[in-house]
Amino acid sequence: MTETSLKTPDSRKMVLNMGPQHPSTHGVLRLELELDGEIVTGVKPHIGYLHRCFEKYAESLDDYSKVVPYTDRLDYVAAMSQEFSYALAVEKLLEIEVPERVEYIRVIMAELQRIASHLLAVGTFGLDLGAFTPFLYCFTEREKILDIFEKASGARLLYNYICIGGLMKDVPSDFKSDTQNFVSTFRPKIKELNDLLTTNRIFINRTAHIGVLPAEVAINYAASGPVLRGSGVSWDIRRDDPYSIYDQLDFNIPIGQGEVGTVGDCWDRYIVRVLEMEESLKIIEQALEKMPEEGDVREKVPKRIKPPEGEVYVRTESPRGELGFYIISDKSPRPYRVKARAPSFVNLSLLPSISLGSMLGDLVAIVGSIDIVLGEVDR
C-alpha cells in the first residue's frame, strides 16, 4: 500500500460546485465547496477561467507603451489605477520626471477611480446580500465619474489615458468644474447609502462577526487594501511609501474598528470602503485647489522607448490593495519581463482561511467583502 491515505467520503458532507456561472462569484470564480448542511466545511477556489496571458503577451509586444491598454484590462473596474501604476514603473526605469500638472491630474483621476471602484464594490456587496436597490444607486453615481473620464479620455471603461511620460491628452476645460460639481453632489449620496444599507440592522446582522480576519492572518497572507485595513492594520502605500504627490496631500487612513462586531469582519471591510470614498473626496478637493491651471501634459519621451538595462518594482495603492509592477528591461524596446502583483489574487487566497464554519449565505457575503475582480485574479 502506498502512503496516500484515501479519505473515505463522508456521506454527511455534500460537495457543491459554486460557479464559474453563479450570480455572486463576481465573474468566473469557481468555488469547490464542501458543505455540512448549510455550513461550509471546505472551500477551494479554482481560478483561471479568465486567463488572458497578460504577462506573456506584454513581453511579446515590441513597445513599452503598447502594454498600457492591456494594463487597463487587468482590473477592468479600476483601469486608471493600473495605468498609473504601470506608467510610474516605466518612468522610474527611464528616470524621467513628469510635469507637476500631470501629477495632479493623475492623482485626481486615480482617486475618482477609487471612488468609482468602491461604489461598485459596495453596491455588489449589497447585491450579494439581497439588497438590489443600493446597487443601482451606486451605479448612478459611478456613471457620473465615468462621464468625467469619458470627457477627458474618450472612453468609459478602458481609458488608456495615463501614458508613459504624462497623459494622452490634456483634460477638457470644464474638468475642474465638473469634478467639483461631482464632489459636492456626492457627499449627500454617501449619507443616503448609509441610511439605506450601512445602518440597516438586517445588513449589520448579515455582516457583523462574519468572516473575521485577524490582523496577523491578514499580514501573513500579504493581504492589502481595504481587506487589510478592515482588520485594523493602518497600512496604506499612499502614506507609507508615497508615490507621485501623495506626500503633499492630507488624508486619513480609515481602519476597521469593529464598531458593530469583531474587528476584521465583513462589515469592517465594507465600512472601510465607504470611509475611503470620503477620504478620496478630500484628496480630490485638495488636488483641484493646488493643480496648476496651465502646463504641459507630456514629458518628452523618445518615440521608441528603450529603457536602460535594469529592473524596477513600483507599487501603488489601487482600490483593491497593493498593485505592483515588476519590469525587467534588457535595453531593447521590448520589455523582458512584466509581472503584475495583483491585489485581488492575493486577497482571494485568504478565502478558505476565513470562511470555514460559516454558512452558505455568509460565504457569499465574504466573497463580496473581499471584492475581487476576476480580470485581475486571472490576468
Partner: protein, 344 residues
C-alpha cells in the same frame, strides 16, 4: 352570486363551473398586472422607468408579451430528474394557492364556498405549498434546488405557527371561523362616531398581531427579506433552478397568487374585508369588490416596496426570528387580545 348564475344559466353544472372559475380569471389578470407593477415599482425606486416599450403606455403589455414568450419556450426536463414529480410540482403549487381562494370573500355577494371552517381550510391548504416546493426541489435533482427546497420547508413550517396564532387572536375577537361572517362583523362606521369598525382599530393588541401577521406572510410567500428559498445571489434560483418555460411561469404565477391571497386574508381579518372605509358611502357588492382588491393591492405594494429596500436574512436568523421572537410575542399577544376582549 351562485343564485344569480344559476338563474341566468340553464345548466346548474355549468353555473357551478363558472362560479368556481371566476377567481381564476381574476388571478390571471392580477398576476399580469402585479408582475408589471413589481417591475414598475422596482424601476421607479431605482430611478429607472421599468418596462416602457410593449403596448404603448408605460409598457403595460410587457407581461403579456413575456407570457407569450414563456409559452413558446422549449419544455426542458432534466434527464436525471424524477420526471413525474418534476412535471407535477408547478401544478400542485398553483392548485394549492388557487384552492385557498375558495374561502376568500371577494365582496358581500361573492365567496367561493361559505364554509364555517374557512380559516382552518385556508391554513390547511396553504401547507400544500410547502409540499409542492419540496417536490419541485427534490425532483429537479439539482443541489441548488434541494437547498432551496429544504430552506423553504423549514421556513414555511416555522412561520405557519405565528401566522396561525395571529389569526387565532382575530378569531378570539370575532368568534367565527367563517371569513364572510368576519367581514360582515366589520360593517359600519361606529367607532368614535366616524372610524370604520375594522378589527385592527377595535383592539390595540390586534395592531401588534397584524405586524406579526404581516412579517409571517412575507415569509410564507417568500418575499424579501425572507426570500431564502430562491435567494438568487446564494442559491441561483433555489427550487426553481431547473424550471424553464411555462412551468416556471406557473411557479411565478402561483407566487404572485400567494402574495395576493395572504394579503387578502390580512385585509379580511384586520382591515374590514370588502367594507368601504366610509360606512354606507360607496358600499355595495361591486364597490365591495373594489375596496377589497384596493386594500389587498396596497398590502401587495408594501411587500414590493419592502422587497426593493431591504437585504435578506440568513437562514439561522430567519428561524431565530420566528421561534425566539415572533412565536412568544404572538402567544403573549393572544392572551392580551383575549383579556382586552374580556374587559371591554
Amino acid at each position: 352570486m351562485i343564485e344569480l348564475l344559476e338563474y341566468t344559466i340553464p345548466s346548474t353544472m355549468l353555473a357551478l363551473v363558472i362560479h368556481a372559475l371566476l377567481p381564476l380569471g381574476f388571478i390571471l389578470v392580477y398576476a399580469l398586472f402585479a408582475i408589471w407593477l413589481e417591475r414598475k415599482v422596482a424601476g421607479h425606486v431605482q430611478d429607472r422607468l421599468g418596462p416602457m416599450r410593449v403596448g404603448g403606455w408605460h409598457g403595460w403589455a410587457q407581461t403579456i408579451a413575456d407570457m407569450l414568450k414563456l409559452l413558446h419556450k422549449e419544455d426542458i426536463i432534466p434527464t436525471q430528474s424524477n420526471k413525474f414529480l418534476f412535471k407535477m410540482a408547478p401544478y400542485m403549487l398553483f392548485t394549492a394557492s388557487y384552492g385557498a381562494f375558495a374561502v376568500i370573500p371577494f365582496s358581500s355577494a361573492y365567496i367561493g364556498s361559505r364554509v364555517d371552517i374557512g380559516v382552518v381550510y385556508l391554513l390547511a391548504i396553504l401547507s400544500l405549498l410547502t409540499l409542492s416546493v419540496i417536490m419541485a426541489g427534490w425532483a429537479s435533482n439539482n443541489k441548488w434546488s434541494l437547498f432551496g427546497a429544504m430552506r423553504s420547508a423549514s421556513q414555511m413550517v416555522s412561520y405557519e405557527v405565528p401566522t396561525v396564532v395571529t389569526v387565532l387572536s382575530v378569531i378570539v375577537v370575532t368568534g367565527s371561523l367563517n371569513l364572510m361572517t368576519v367581514s360582515e362583523m366589520q360593517t359600519g362606521n361606529d367607532l368614535f362616531g366616524f372610524l370604520p369598525n375594522w378589527l385592527i382599530l377595535q383592539n390595540p393588541f390586534l395592531v401588534i398581531a397584524f405586524i406579526i401577521f404581516f412579517i409571517s406572510i412575507l415569509a410564507e410567500s417568500h418575499r424579501v427579506p425572507f426570500d431564502l428559498p430562491e435567494s438568487e445571489s446564494e442559491l441561483v434560483a433555489g427550487f426553481q433552478t431547473e424550471y424553464s418555460g411555462m412551468r416556471w411561469g406557473i411557479i411565478m404565477l402561483s407566487e404572485y397568487a400567494d402574495m395576493l391571497l395572504l394579503s387578502l386574508l390580512g385585509v379580511t381579518l384586520f382591515f374590514g374585508g370588502w367594507n368601504s372605509p366610509f360606512g354606507v358611502f360607496m358600499a355595495g357588492p361591486l364597490w365591495g369588490f373594489f375596496w377589497f382588491i384596493l386594500k389587498g393591492m396596497l398590502l401587495v405594494f408594501v411587500m414590493m416596496w419592502i422587497r426593493w429596500t431591504l437585504p435578506r436574512l440568513r437562514v439561522d436568523q430567519l428561524t431565530y426570528l420566528c421561534w425566539s421572537v415572533l412565536i412568544p410575542v404572538s402567544f403573549i399577544n393572544l392572551v392580551l387580545v383575549a383579556l382586552w376582549e374580556m374587559i371591554f
